[in-house]
């Protein structure tokens, strides 16, 4: 039964946002007529403008017709023509709208899946009207994060008559996270650059986004390195140093935030991976280890961590990862600890470089201190492309919740994935963003997009996948699951020097199915002193990214293009601790970041594939950026699994398109952790 009712919008085309959330435009999708009818009624009662569709395809169609027509999408999980998660990913990728999942099943696994795919909420039937009264917060949150400007919607928020504090049904972490965020945002006027209600109508007003191209990012990184990530790298100075026209301080600020998070994440991932490696005692085995992931709940703890202003790595991402891990791939989530962030000095990556021979079997790390490792089952087929050796890097306790990643050791064969072309630095150390899954949603382009900058990928390891790299930028969509790959610091000098890493989460990027990322790095002995978290600094909104001078490489466009961590001397890879924030709440991105540190020995980037891809058909592709999007991530880390670097790139691009990436819009929907093989 197809029911479509479009209510006229009061007050104009875009709804009357003076009284937001009154007039918020919602699209409801559910094949069950009873529920759909009821949902419609309840939403109307909340004074939203409701459009209903009983078929996912029709819903997609009307969404595509006019992306600005809706503010929020509510979709059932189980639908005959299309899986709700798939729809979720597509919407997130293409339209970057907040999506709420609906189901009669309250199984936590399913909830997790929703989270990892980027849902901003998950409601269980029967739905109470009270729950619907708060859903507007997702719109606001996303807008805020998207725009990169703080407090844009402060007025709106202030005006909103929130009925409650938001009962996020299942994402408690998210709620808290969100709560924090919202409060932060409201209160933190200092942060908001463009304060003001420039955007009363979130749906209609699109601010020009800064696209962080590789070049731009490279400049940024160079400036940051020059100034010193810890102390002198303040947005103003960075901006001055970069000397780019049209770039505002705010853009730089948010980009810096993300970058820091990314670095943190990398270091943390590296630490975890190292731990993992140690625990597993695997060396040179072709598997991907998942670094510990923070749990959603833990995420909150992150807030405590001084390092990040916002818990970039929201537990959300962690959950995302978990969710993904739970996918059929047989992900095992081991205890997730919240601290995703790795202490900077701990970064030690060690990871076994594992060649991505085929399937990554999920590796379960023994609850390392840093969190649980996620194992994602890497989809083998996808991985095939990428042969990545994953290394397990050690992560220091990562504050960042997101974490994850299978450690893939990428041997630094100097093959920058995508090399050549995409790498800015040409350093093989680039981060490789592996996209976990290339969903259909992903445009074909993705495949080649991954700009894997696997600094240390062996040439052979990167086949195909990497070669493509490149277009991170090109793709606007992120369908990829980004998995951060931890680059094991094979070489001490590599990218990261342990000390340099400051909470970086080594993101292990897991491969992406089509992406090139699968650089297989030659197995590096785990005991690499320096952890190379060459995670690309995803534009983490938060976190300090210890970016060592050496770092750099990044394909700016995409989230983290590839970091070229070739800083042999410093070996510091800017851990892109991009917490996986999913800024836009699209958590479906698994970000696989392959942090490639340029390890001469072979940096390993974890490439992991996401099993999710297999399991989840809908690899979330979040258009967001990948790696860490904290902003959106409410509480979890953004785990975005990018099927391939391409996806990642696309995701980044998309993000940028959607908004300022600098805003920390990287949303990782979920981390896809390739299961260690």
């Amino acid at each position: 039964m197809v029911v479509e009712e479009i209510r006229g919008k009061s007050g104009g085309e875009n709804g009357n946002y003076d009284n937001f959330p009154v007039g918020m435009r919602v699209l409801a999708v559910d094949d069950d007529p009873t529920c759909l009818r009821l949902l419609e009624t309840l939403l109307r009662k909340c004074q939203y403008h409701v459009t209903v569709k009983s078929q996912a395809r029709e819903a997609l169609q009307i969404l595509r017709e006019n992306k600005d027509r809706f503010d929020l999408v509510i979709s059932d999980v189980h639908m005959p023509d299309m899986d709700g998660f798939k729809l979720l990913e597509l919407v997130g990728l293409e339209m970057d709208l907040p999506v709420i999942m609906l189901s009669a099943n309250s199984d936590p696994k399913l909830v997790m899946k929703g989270v990892t795919h980027g849902a901003c909420d998950y409601l269980v039937k029967p739905i109470r009207i009270e729950e619907l009264r708060n859903i507007w917060q997702h719109v606001i949150r996303r807008k805020k994060f998207d725009s990169g400007k703080q407090n844009k919607c402060t007025d709106q928020i202030n005006n909103c008559q929130a009925s409650g504090q938001g009962q996020m049904s299942l994402m408690t972490g998210t709620v808290d996270q969100n709560g924090k965020f919202n409060r932060k945002r409201k209160d933190d006027d200092d942060e908001s650059e463009d304060n003001g209600d420039e955007n009363e109508d979130p749906a209609t007003q699109k601010k020009p986004r800064v696209v962080w191209s590789i070049e731009l990012h490279r400049k940024f990184v160079a400036a940051v390195n020059q100034l010193g990530i810890e102390t002198e790298a303040v947005p103003k100075r960075i901006l001055d140093m970069m000397n780019v026209e049209g770039l505002t301080r705010e853009n730089v600020a948010s980009h810096l935030q993300k970058y820091r998070l990314y670095l943190k994440r990398i270091s943390s991932v590296a630490t975890q991976q190292a731990n993992m490696a140690a625990a597993l005692g695997i060396k040179d085995s072709p598997f991907v280890r998942m670094s510990s992931l923070d749990r959603l709940g833990d995420f909150r703890n992150l807030a405590g961590s001084g390092r990040f202003a916002n818990t970039a790595l929201s537990p959300y991402s962690a959950n995302g990862m978990l969710g993904r891990l739970n996918s059929p791939g047989g992900v095992n989530l081991h205890n997730l600890t919240s601290s995703a962030l790795i202490q900077p000095n701990h970064a030690q990556n060690l990871s076994n470089s594992m060649s991505n021979a085929g399937k990554f079997h999920p590796v379960i790390t023994p609850g390392s201190q840093n969190g649980s490792l996620f194992q994602g089952s890497l989809e083998m087929d996808q991985l095939q492309k990428n042969k990545c050796t994953t290394e397990i890097t050690n992560f220091n306790s990562m504050d960042d919740s997101r974490m994850f990643t299978a450690a893939s050791a990428f041997t630094n064969t100097g093959e920058a994935i995508g090399s050549s072309s995409n790498y800015l630095n040409g350093d093989p150390n680039n981060l490789m963003m592996l996209h976990g899954n290339s969903q259909q949603a992903l445009s074909g382009g993705f495949g080649n997009q991954s700009s894997l900058n696997m600094a240390s990928f062996n040439a052979e390891s990167l086949n195909g996948g990497v070669g493509q790299s490149s277009n991170f930028l090109d793709h606007g969509k992120f369908n990829e699951t980004w998995q951060t790959i931890q680059l094991p610091k094979v070489q001490s000098n590599t990218l990261f020097s342990a000390e340099h890493l400051q909470d970086q989460l080594p993101l292990n990027t897991v491969r992406d199915n089509n992406s090139s990322n699968s650089p297989h790095l030659q197995n590096n002995p785990l005991d690499i002193s320096s952890t190379t978290m060459a995670s690309r600094p995803l534009e983490d909104s938060r976190g300090e990214i210890q970016f060592q001078e050496g770092l750099v490489g990044q394909n700016s466009d995409t989230i983290f293009g590839s970091f070229d961590f070739n800083i042999p001397a410093n070996g510091n890879l800017p851990p892109s601790s991009k917490s996986l924030d999913q800024s836009t709440g699209i958590f479906n991105r698994k970000m696989e970041m392959v942090v490639n540190s340029r390890l001469p020995g072979g940096a390993s980037t974890l490439m992991q594939r996401n099993e999710i891809e297999q399991s989840n058909t809908d690899s979330r592709r979040s258009n967001e950026n990948f790696l860490l999007e904290q902003a959106k991530l409410q509480g979890g880390f953004v785990s975005q699994s990018y099927g391939s670097l391409d996806d990642l790139v696309n995701a980044v691009v998309k993000r940028e398109q959607d908004g300022n990436i600098s805003d920390g819009n990287f949303g990782f929907d979920d981390y896809s952790f390739g299961p260690g093989i």
Binding site: D32, T34, C35, R37, L38, D76, H78, A104, N105
Partner: protein
Amino acid sequence: MDYKNLDTKSLNQLLINSIGELQQQGLVDDYFRHCHSLKEENGPFFFVELIPVFLADARKVVNEMAKAIDQSLVDYNQMYVHCIKLKGSAACIGACRLRNACTYMSQAIDDKSRDRCCLALNDIKQEYKYLQNPLESIVKQLGPNATIIEMMKS
């Protein structure tokens, strides 16, 4: 009972009573009453239309489940999809017993136990029957009655 002769208020009262009874019997929970109270938002026919839609849809799903179980090789995924759908409908409208029967069915599906699925399906059918009559009589009360519209509006 000749509803036509009743005035709006009485009719409304009758309806509320019916709903209360059903609730007391445990056939429906509070959501049912809540659905009824939503009539203002969606127009007078909302509730009246909703019930038959629910019943028809539920019947269809039950039949699908029966068919799936009869297969030599039971497709549990498909069964699960049906089950969750029915559960969702039942939950939304407030048919708590039917919802519980679906929960039981989903457990049987998880265990991939055909026997238990059959048992669960019988339960579901039973609950559906229990529900069908009272709901249909409510519709009769409301439906054809011209005054219903007024009642609805009130």
